[in-house]
Each structure stands twice: as structure tokens, then as C-alpha cells.
């Protein structure tokens, strides 16, 4: 059963191009010396709250994207709905490495107040591709 599920998931990833780009993205981080990448570490960092000088409420990735990545999120400031991040629920996710880096830059600075390290980004990618 697990094998069938895995097979099905791979078929979806391969057919949408997300699988290839995820490998490319992770390889890019590995070239900087990061790795191995751990989805559990990504999951833990996802909900970690960071104090911000811009808002009274601490911020985490889940502030806007929620904790169930297969469901839509909501921008905490504007209230605008955000489509699910999980590749299984939204096949276009992680299919464009350039877009991935744009949003890592913006969102890591918003949430952590700094850029994420390649290790942190790799862990997040593994978590998002298979939450």
C-alpha cells in the first residue's frame, strides 16, 4: 500500500516537473556544504515563534501558511487567502526555483528577521514536498 502511494506521488511529482526542480534546488544548497536535509527539522522550524520589532505578536511560518500545508493559509496582516503549499495539494508549488528563492528571501526576513541558511531552506523544502 505504502509502495503504491509512493509510486502515485512520484508520478504526480514527475508529471508536473516539481520533482526535478526540487532535486535541483536541494543540490544547489548541498553545493554550499549543507545537508543532509531533514523534513522533521523543517517541520519543527515551521512553527518556531520569532519575536519581531514590527509586530506585537511573534511570527512563524505558520502565522500565514498554517500548520496543515495541504490546506489554504491566510496572510496574517492583509487576510488574503494563500493557496496550499504542499506539492500534493498544489502541484505548481516548488516547480519554479526562481520563485522559491524570491519567497524564501521575503518570508525568512519577515519571519526570522534574517535570510535562512541553505540548511534551513533544504529542510523546509523536504518538509513542503512531503509534509
Amino acid at each position: 500500500m505504502k509502495g503504491t502511494l509512493h509510486c502515485g506521488l512520484m508520478a504526480i511529482l514527475v508529471s508536473t516537473g516539481a520533482y526535478g526542480s526540487v532535486q535541483d534546488i536541494l543540490q544547489g544548497y548541498a553545493h554550499t556544504g549543507a545537508g543532509p536535509f531533514d523534513p522533521a527539522a523543517g517541520k519543527a522550524a515551521w512553527v518556531k515563534a520569532h519575536r519581531s520589532t514590527h509586530s506585537a505578536e511573534p511570527r512563524s511560518c505558520s502565522s500565514c501558511h498554517g500548520t496543515d500545508l495541504t490546506r489554504a493559509g491566510r496572510h496574517v496582516k492583509t487576510g488574503k487567502p494563500i493557496e496550499p503549499l504542499a506539492v500534493s495539494a498544489n502541484p505548481s508549488r516548488l516547480s519554479d526555483p526562481h520563485k522559491v528563492e524570491t519567497w524564501f528571501r521575503r518570508n525568512c526576513r519577515w519571519t526570522l528577521g534574517r535570510d535562512c541558511t541553505p540548511q534551513e531552506k533544504g529542510d523546509f523544502i523536504r518538509y513542503i514536498s512531503n509534509p
Partner: protein, 207 residues
């Protein structure tokens, strides 16, 4: 036997799912192409405005709809994609110069993306629009060091002066004057006339 049936079923499922995804992405690409060709063409905007007039009797676009794919993706992902015609070019330039501190949030983009969006916003800004309501947004309040906002323009304030704060900030269905589309239900199409205003939890606002 059971295993063979499962494998055949999985095979069919894979072919169908790949086919669906591929035809979906082709459709998306075709739309994107049409979109790119249209972006920046005032004839296309006129056609679009004409189409909307036909679909919404008695309505027309007050502000040219935002049709740039890069703008929607980079800016519209977090907030309502304010039409370029809601602020003058000088205001858009200041906003694009300070994306690292975008009203308290980081909205930085790489140079290529930022240049493309800057061009789109300034080329279609309020002070370059032929639409009278759009042109009314070209006047910014004098001597203000803060980043320009649509909601602090004189025209915006005048048009919204009769709306009590309990309908906006005190209303969970709205929250802020920045959420145009909460009450202007066709704001996406650039239609802001008051006959189409419905305030969540309050109802029509038509004075």
C-alpha cells in the same frame, strides 16, 4: 491476480493524471501568452473595459484593471493587487525604491523582477490615465514623509468620509480600508462605483 489488477489500475491512473496535468498546463500557458500580449496595450484595456460594460449593465471600469502577470504574482500574492491607476507614478517609484521595508514588511525582489514591475506601475499610473476617477488619485497629500498610500490620498478620504470606523476597522469582514475588494465586490475589474458596494455584515451602501 489481485496484484496485477492493482498494477493495471495504477498504470491507467498515472496516464490519466499526467494527461490532465499536461492539458491544464497547456491551457495555462496559452492564457499566459494572451495575457503578456495584452499587457501594456491600451487597445486591449479598452476592449476589456467594453466587455465589462456589456457584462455589467450600468457599470464600467473606473480604473484600468491590473493585468500584469508578474505584478499579480509578486504583489497580489499578499494583498489586493491595487491597480497602477490608484497612485501617481512618483508614488509607485517611492514604493518600488523601498521594498525592503514595505509598510513594515519585507517585500524585496531581485532586480529583473523589480524593474519589470516598476515599469508596469509607472507606465499605467494615475497621472497617465485617461479615466477621470483614476486621475483623481494622482494628487498626493502635500509634504508627507511616510510611504504613499491609496487610503491617504485626498480623493480617497473624501469618498470614504461618511463611512463609520465600526464598518471597517471594527468589522472582522473588512478590517482595513486597504481591503478594497471586501466592499467593492468588483474591485478586481477596476469597478469602484458606489452602487456595487456591499459592506460585510452591514449590506449595501448607496447614499
Amino acid at each position: 491476480m489481485k496484484k496485477t489488477v492493482t498494477l493495471i489500475a495504477l498504470g491507467i491512473l498515472m496516464i490519466v493524471s499526467i494527461g490532465t496535468v499536461m492539458s491544464g498546463s497547456e491551457r495555462w500557458e496559452r492564457n499566459e501568452e494572451a495575457h503578456r500580449e495584452d499587457a501594456g496595450s491600451s487597445e486591449a484595456y479598452e476592449r476589456e473595459a467594453g466587455r465589462m460594460r456589456n457584462e455589467w449593465p450600468g457599470s464600467r471600469a473606473d480604473v484600468t484593471p491590473a493585468q500584469d502577470a508578474a505584478y499579480h504574482s509578486a504583489c497580489g500574492a499578499c494583498h489586493f493587487a491595487y491597480q497602477p491607476g490608484l497612485l501617481p507614478g512618483s508614488a509607485w517609484t517611492r514604493i518600488m525604491d523601498s521594498l525592503g521595508d514595505h509598510y513594515g514588511d519585507d517585500a524585496s525582489l531581485d532586480e529583473a523582477q523589480s524593474a519589470e514591475i516598476r515599469r508596469y506601475l509607472t507606465a499605467n499610473a494615475a497621472d497617465r490615465s485617461a479615466l477621470s476617477r483614476s486621475r483623481a488619485f494622482a494628487a498626493l497629500p502635500a509634504a508627507n514623509d511616510a510611504l504613499p498610500r491609496v487610503t491617504t490620498t485626498d480623493y480617497f478620504r473624501r469618498e470614504h468620509s461618511e463611512i463609520p470606523t465600526r464598518f471597517v476597522q471594527g468589522n472582522t469582514g473588512v478590517g482595513s480600508f486597504s481591503n478594497c475588494q471586501s466592499c467593492h465586490r468588483n474591485a478586481d475589474a477596476g469597478i469602484y462605483n458606489e452602487h456595487q458596494v456591499v459592506i460585510p455584515g452591514v449590506g449595501r451602501w448607496d447614499d
